[in-house]
Every structure is written in structure tokens, then in C-alpha cells.
Symmetry: C2
């Protein structure tokens, strides 16, 4: 029984992944600072064991033999995902992976140091080294997967996503935003002219904010018997599906920054907590990919948390925990603030896609060789001026040096953020079609209809379908920009 061998292998890999996930969450939340070096060694050794076990040559034989075994449909799907994982993990020679890892880690370290010094010239050689290796990587992945090089990189993060499908959708969105960003800013200016922003009172004890966050997490569906909320410097969602660790950080001057972050990570957590448990030790049982994951986090952050209906229910909770009264008219301008800026991670939902499209366009050229790293600051600045009217030419730290993705060799990842936002809007439109009263339910703090739809259509599917297939099955349509555009118009338009 070769499938049985794969099944057994899955249980071993799951145990190592469990350890790595909990060690990762622990490192960011509870590890003593002096424990880092030994932790890094232990994690590297365990990751090496995982890689060796997941890429053993006999697995290819098991997969081949399992093809001709009598498998049920779940097992067939599981076999397909075992193959995908194996191909993605074995298509690069070990020697190359080592070189890439060394170059990547060195470039990330340099980046941390030189970004603070705004030193593009010092950083460029290391980035050039990484990009040269990424081009090699893309070629090897393309060869193994029979895909275009950039598609082969994206395939790691979102199986089935292809640049040829995404580019027209991003183009439509970009054309729309060209006119819409100024419109949204005008609308906002007019509104703030009439009623200035209510300031945050500025003294929100951490423990109260934590209780408010936990109350909202539980209400929107986070199972507190299978997960927890801690503090870390960079918020994340980690751990394992039966014990999801989300984190936030608190500013006592601003309860919204932590709260919106908690809602976002709760969205990631809901996906993990509701994955199919019977498949947990198979690649099939994992979340589909980064874009779908981001669609689930952004759904909770935006379709719930920035939805006016949400605050009908949410504001009494805020008052109960923080002792401060807010009206909807006062809170919405805070959660709907639009402000073009240089930094992607600080962007609002209107301008955020432009940051991503800029990177999507540039990184295809970088991987394809049409753009040289040395020309990146000019290319970045040109797009930044065209898309957002801002220049970064004298400020590479807030231009092409602002994100860790490229020094970290993660090309093909950026599209996931905006694909996630579009998918969330498309999912919301589809479920609202079936359940027109969801806003009223949310206004009562009843999230069950929405979560039921998401459980059936997304969470319970694990990795059964490719990213585009999953979306099309859930919403009845291929990915398109229309629903996200409608969403922005309705929330931010004239």
C-alpha cells in the first residue's frame, strides 16, 4: 500500500511542522531573548529533518505506485497535493537552495541595517545577487512545472494563479483607481470640512484593549478553546489549526490600531481553525495559499470590521470595555481614512492595490530581465508618481527598500495581497446575493450566516482546488475587479 506510506509520511511531517509552528510562535511571544541562538540552531536542524523526509527519493516511487491503487476521491486529491508539494520541494538542487539561502539571509540582514541608513548603493550588490539567483530559480521551477518563469514563482504561494489572468484584472483596477483616488479624497475632505475627525482620547489600558479584542474575536467566530491572543512586535497568525496563535501589539494612545489588527489576524485564524481536520496530516488539509488566506483575513478586517453595520453592534462593546462612547458618525471616518503614502503596509484599502500593482509590474520585469536592479529606484519612482503622485527618488528606504520580500527572495508573493482583497469583495457579493440580510445580521453581532457560507465554500475545502478554481466554485465567477471596485465606490465614492 503505497498511499498508506504517504499517509504515514504525512503524520511524521505534521509532527515536525507542529513543532516548527509552535516554536515559531513561541519565539515571537515568550522566548527569553538569550534563547535565540540555540533556538535558531534547533529550528534549522528540525527544518532540515523535515526537508530530508519530505524529499526522500522513495516518495516518488510511492506516489507513482499509489496512482494505480484503489483510492477514494479524497485520497486522489490528497495524492495530487502530495505530488505538488514534492515537485515544488525537489525541483531545486540542494546545492542551489543552500546558495540561495545564504544570499537571501545576508541580503535580509543588510537590508535591516541599510534601510535605516537609506543606503541604496550599499544594498544594491546584495540585491543583485539575490535577483540573479531568483532568475535561476524561476527558470528551474518553470522547467519542472512547465510554466512561465514568473508563474512558476507564484505557484509556490497560490497554485493556479497565472500572470496572464491577473494582469488584465489589475489593469482594470489600476485604471479605475486613477480617477477614484482623487474622488475619494475629495469626498473625504468635504466630509471632514463639515465635521472634523473626533480625536482618540488617548488613554486605553492594554488589559481593557485585550478584553475588547478577545470579545470581538469570540463573537466573529474565533474558537478560544483552539487558539489564543498574545503580544508580539510584529502581529501574526501562527501555531497549528487546533491551537492558533494570533498576536497584536498595543498602543495605549489608539485602540483602533490593535483592534483592526486583531480582526485581521482573526480572519486568518478562522481559516486555520476550520480546515478539514481529517486531512490535517496531508498537504490537502492545508489552507490553499496566500491569496485565499489574505482574502479571509481581509474579509474579517474589511467586510466585517470596516462595514458600518459592524459598528452598530461593535460600539456598545467598545463602550463596555473602554468606557468611552463613540457614535458611528465618529468612528467611521477613522476606519475609512484614505491617505496616499509611500509605505504599503500603512496604506488604506483604496490606495493599497496601487502599491501592489507597482510591485507586480516591476518584479515581472526583474525576473524576466527587462529591468536591471540598478534601474529600480528610477522605475519605482516613475510608477509611484504616476499611480499615487508621490516621489521616492531621493528616498529609496521608502521606495524599493521598504519591504523585506525582495531581499528575502520572495518574488511572486506581492500579488496575493490585492488578490485577497478582490476575492474578499467577490465572496461578499456572492454570499450577499444568497443572503441579502447579512448586514442586518452583522449589525446584531450575528456572524453565523456569513461564517457558514465561508466554512462551506472556503474553509472546509482545504487545498482541494487550485486558487482560481476555489474562487470560481465559491462565487460562480472567475476573478474579476468588478466587486472590489463596487465595494470601494460604495464605501468611499461620491
Amino acid at each position: 500500500m503505497s498511499f498508506a506510506k504517504l499517509d504515514q509520511l504525512g503524520r511524521k511531517l505534521e509532527a515536525l511542522e507542529h513543532a516548527l509552528a509552535i516554536l515559531g510562535a513561541d519565539e515571537a511571544t515568550h522566548m527569553a531573548i538569550g534563547g535565540g541562538e540555540k533556538r535558531a540552531q534547533a529550528v534549522a536542524t528540525l527544518a532540515g529533518m523535515h526537508h530530508r523526509q519530505a524529499t526522500a527519493p522513495e516518495i516518488a516511487d510511492w506516489m507513482g505506485a499509489a496512482e494505480s491503487e484503489a483510492l477514494d476521491t479524497d485520497q486522489q486529491a490528497a495524492l495530487r497535493e502530495f505530488k505538488r508539494q514534492y515537485t515544488n520541494m525537489t525541483c531545486l538542487p540542494a546545492e542551489f537552495v543552500e546558495r540561495l539561502t545564504v544570499a537571501r539571509m545576508r541580503c535580509e540582514q543588510l537590508w535591516r541595517d541599510l534601510r535605516a541608513k537609506n543606503d541604496w548603493a550599499g544594498f544594491l550588490p546584495a540585491l543583485e545577487g539575490v535577483i540573479a539567483l531568483v532568475r535561476e530559480e524561476a527558470a528551474m521551477r518553470a522547467d519542472a512545472l512547465k510554466l512561465q518563469p514568473y508563474d512558476a514563482l507564484m505557484e509556490q504561494y497560490d497554485p493556479g494563479n497565472r500572470a496572464a489572468d491577473i494582469a488584465p484584472v489589475f489593469d482594470e483596477l489600476k485604471r479605475f483607481l486613477k480617477g477614484f483616488v482623487p474622488e475619494a479624497l475629495e469626498v473625504q475632505a468635504a466630509r471632514l470640512g463639515k465635521a472634523p475627525l473626533k480625536p482618540l482620547s488617548g488613554s486605553y489600558p492594554v488589559e481593557r484593549q485585550r478584553e475588547l479584542g478577545l470579545a470581538m474575536m469570540a463573537a466573529v467566530g474565533f474558537d478560544l478553546t483552539h487558539g489564543s491572543l498574545s503580544v508580539s512586535h510584529h502581529p501574526f497568525c501562527g501555531g497549528v489549526p487546533t491551537d492558533v496563535r494570533i498576536t497584536t501589539r498595543y498602543k495605549t494612545t489608539d485602540f483602533l490600531s490593535s483592534l483592526m489588527g486583531v480582526l485581521h489576524e482573526t480572519g486568518h485564524a478562522l481559516y486555520e481553525q476550520n480546515l478539514p481536520q481529517d486531512w490535517a496530516h496531508w498537504p490537502l488539509g492545508k489552507a490553499r495559499g496566500m491569496a485565499v488566506h489574505e482574502s479571509q483575513s481581509l474579509f474579517v478586517e474589511k467586510q466585517f470590521g470596516r462595514n458600518p453595520a459592524f459598528w452598530d453592534w461593535g460600539l456598545p462593546l467598545v463602550e463596555q470595555h473602554l468606557g468611552e462612547h463613540w457614535s458611528k458618525a465618529d468612528i467611521l471616518p477613522h476606519v475609512h481614512m484614505v491617505e496616499p503614502g509611500l509605505i504599503r503596509v500603512d496604506a488604506d484599502e483604496v490606495t493599497y492595490p496601487l502599491h501592489v500593482i507597482l510591485r507586480f509590474e516591476l518584479e515581472q520585469e526583474l525576473v524576466g530581465g527587462q529591468l536591471s536592479p540598478v534601474d529600480l529606484p528610477e522605475a519605482w519612482d516613475a510608477k509611484m508618481r504616476a499611480y499615487l503622485g508621490l516621489s521616492t527618488i531621493d528616498n529609496p528606504a521608502d521606495g524599493p527598500m521598504q519591504d523585506v520580500h525582495w531581499p528575502g527572495a520572495a518574488f511572486g508573493y506581492f500579488p496575493s495581497y490585492t488578490l485577497g482583497a478582490m476575492m474578499a469583495a467577490q465572496q461578499w457579493a456572492a454570499l450577499k446575493q444568497q443572503h441579502p440580510a447579512v448586514d442586518e445580521q452583522i449589525a446584531r453581532g450575528d456572524f453565523e450566516t456569513v461564517n457558514g457560507w465561508r466554512r462551506d465554500n472556503i474553509w472546509s475545502q482545504g487545498s482541494r482546488y487550485s486558487t482560481p478554481e476555489l474562487l470560481e466554485r465559491a462565487t460562480g465567477e472567475k476573478l474579476n475587479a468588478r466587486y472590489f471596485i463596487e465595494h470601494l465606490k460604495q464605501r468611499y465614492g461620491a
Copy 2:
């Protein structure tokens, strides 16, 4: 280079041990309750990987070949401890270990359930099954190690400890305590007749107790950059030497229960934090054994924490953190309270050894076959009446059912507790001989001389010497009861 292979193996095992240690601490402190089942599976799988890697047949060849390699003295010592670990891990057939594990886990579960119901008859068959297997285990270990059966069991916990050496020391202590327990109780009654016990005021906020605990931990030498203090139901010291996790639990009515527990676990932590780092991936770099470990925890709890000099320095700290003034005359009766009782873990330092000696005597007879499990309640009761004047005949829950050790098949472990207490007293006497002013130093909150002595003589030695050798080298004498008896006389006598 066969030693190099052992060295490499050590690094792999260290990574798995690191994961298991952190997962273990995490489980008791931060894991979501619903995460337990998957955690148990992951831990079992990782422990299985560790066992398979640590017992691989080729290791025997490497150890054999390493014998004839040019090794320095550290490497020679490391090889000896590799061999000890390998022999202890391979001397039982895998099939037997599985049977023992099943029997042990079932008996532990039954114990949890039936102890609460005081149901000895229901529990007995499971315990009989475990003891039958322990007799087999002892025979197999004895054969592999060329030791007496009970000594072969003790060898797992304290290499070098032999019942023939320990029994006369325990006998001397038992004879002494027969007269001394009544004397200490009389002294105490007379004192309390003159000055009744100052009651605890009973409202000590957890956060204040935590700060007090952290302040004392740091002062007695706990390195807070390489460890932390959390809350768990059962206090423990876990984690890894570079990141030691100690825990406590708080009663808001009584600050001393948590504080004395924190001091005890800090003693364990100091040993771990100060083990030789260069040997961390070798068995040689580990703490010597349970008795030595307990000598280090009890040293901090008793030679520091129940030492009157300690409170000269400690009471202002209590007042600072808890806002409550205590005089030495008021606090000492609390930390020196003597009260014979049925339960070992609740016992004071005067009566505690009698609980251990009772178990040491009975478990030798159980392993040797002179005593049948069915006769245990009578045998226990007889000794309990003889040693402490208390009967458990109608109360097996607080008699032979009170500890998890026997259902858990951990025979040969109990002596470590009292050996630790005696070793701590013997170490204290030896260092005081060299440094007569240590009490004055402690009264000033200066623990450096004491810790320096312990670092040199105990902590930095790792597993270089057997348990009795380590003590003899540190104190110049074999284990004997004299120093512990002197310690009790001085602290509790007339």
C-alpha cells in the same frame, strides 16, 4: 572520525530535545485546551524520532571505533556518557517498552480517576500489572548494567547511586528523626504558646507577587535574559538551558506558598542555566541527575529561603512589593512550620525524609518480590504509624495511592528527594567551611560567593562525574547524614 559522528548525532538529538522541552513547557503554560490531542500526537512522533535516532545500531559501532581515536579528556568523558545513555536506552526491547508504556499510561489514568474515589481495590490490578513489568525491567537493566535490579532502576535517575550505600545513611537519619520530630514539635509549641503565629493578611495581588518573585529570582542569580517565569497548575522547571521556563501558581491569600515555590524552581533553573554550554549537545553537558538537581533546588529553597539571614535582606523586598511589613520573628515561624501529615508533597523539611524512606524501603521490597502489591496498604500503614504516628489504613488515597510515581512505573526515583536535601546540607557545610561569612553576605542580598562555589563545584561539571563522585569532589566527603542532621538540629532543635 567516529567521534565526529557522535558529535553530529548529538546536535540532532539536541534539536529534538529542544523542541520537546519547549513544547512541554508550552503545553502547561500557553497551549489552548483544545490543542492537547494534536500536541500529544506530535510529541509522541517527535519522541519516537528521538528514540530511533538515539538507539540506531550504527551508534554502537561509532562508540566502539571512537575508543581508539585520539580524544581529549572532555571528549573521553563525552564518549563515556554517550555510552551510558545508549546502554540505558537500548537495554529494553522495543516490544517491552511499548507494553510498559501502555500499562503505565493506563495505570496513571486510572490513578487520576480512582485516587479521587479512594478506590484501592479498583486500582490494584493495574498497579500489579505495572509492578510485574517493573520487575522484568529491573532484571533486564540489571543484566545490561551488571548491577542489582533496584540499583539498575536508580541508575536511570542518579548514576552511581547504590542502595547498599544509601540504606545506612537513611537508617541513621531515620533513627535521628524518631526522637527529633517530637522534639521539634515541642519547641515549636512552646514558641507558639508565647507568640502566636502572625496571620497572613490575605490579599496579595497576583501581579505584585509576580514582581516580588522576579526580584528574588534575579537577586539569587536567575538570568532573566535566559529564562522566564509563568503560571501553570503544577509548578515546574522546564525549557532548555538557554531559555529556562519556571512556573508557579498564585494564591491571593498567601504570598509565601508561591514565593517558596519560585525559590525552589529557581534553584533548578540556576543549575540548568549554568551547565557547560560547549557540551550542550552531548549527554555530558546535561545535569547529572535527579538527586543533584534536587540538591540545587532545595539549596535555594532551604539554605537560602528558609535561612533567617535571607529574610534580613528579603523582608524589605516583601514590604516594597506587597506593601506589608513583616519582622523576622513573624515570618520565620511560617517558613519553619513543622507539621506531620499524610502527604509527602505537603511535608516540611523535618518530616519529609520519613515519607521518602518509607517509599525507599517499600519499593525495594516490591521490586525484589518480598512484598506483594496487595499487601501494600498494610505495609504502608505500619511504617506510617511507626515513623510519623499516623494511620492510612482506611485512606489509601492518602497512603500508597498519593503519588503518581508508582503508577507511572518510576521506581528508584523517590530517594532523590531526600538525597537532594542531604546533599544540599553537605554542600552548604563544605562551602561555609571555606567561606565562613556567607550568612552575612546573604543577609545583604549578596549570593555571589555561594553561587560561585556552586558554579565551580556542581553546575560547571555537567555529567562529568557520577552522583556520589560529584558530591565527594565538591565536599571532600562521601554522602553522610551528619550535615543534614546538624542543619535540622540548628534550625528546629531545642
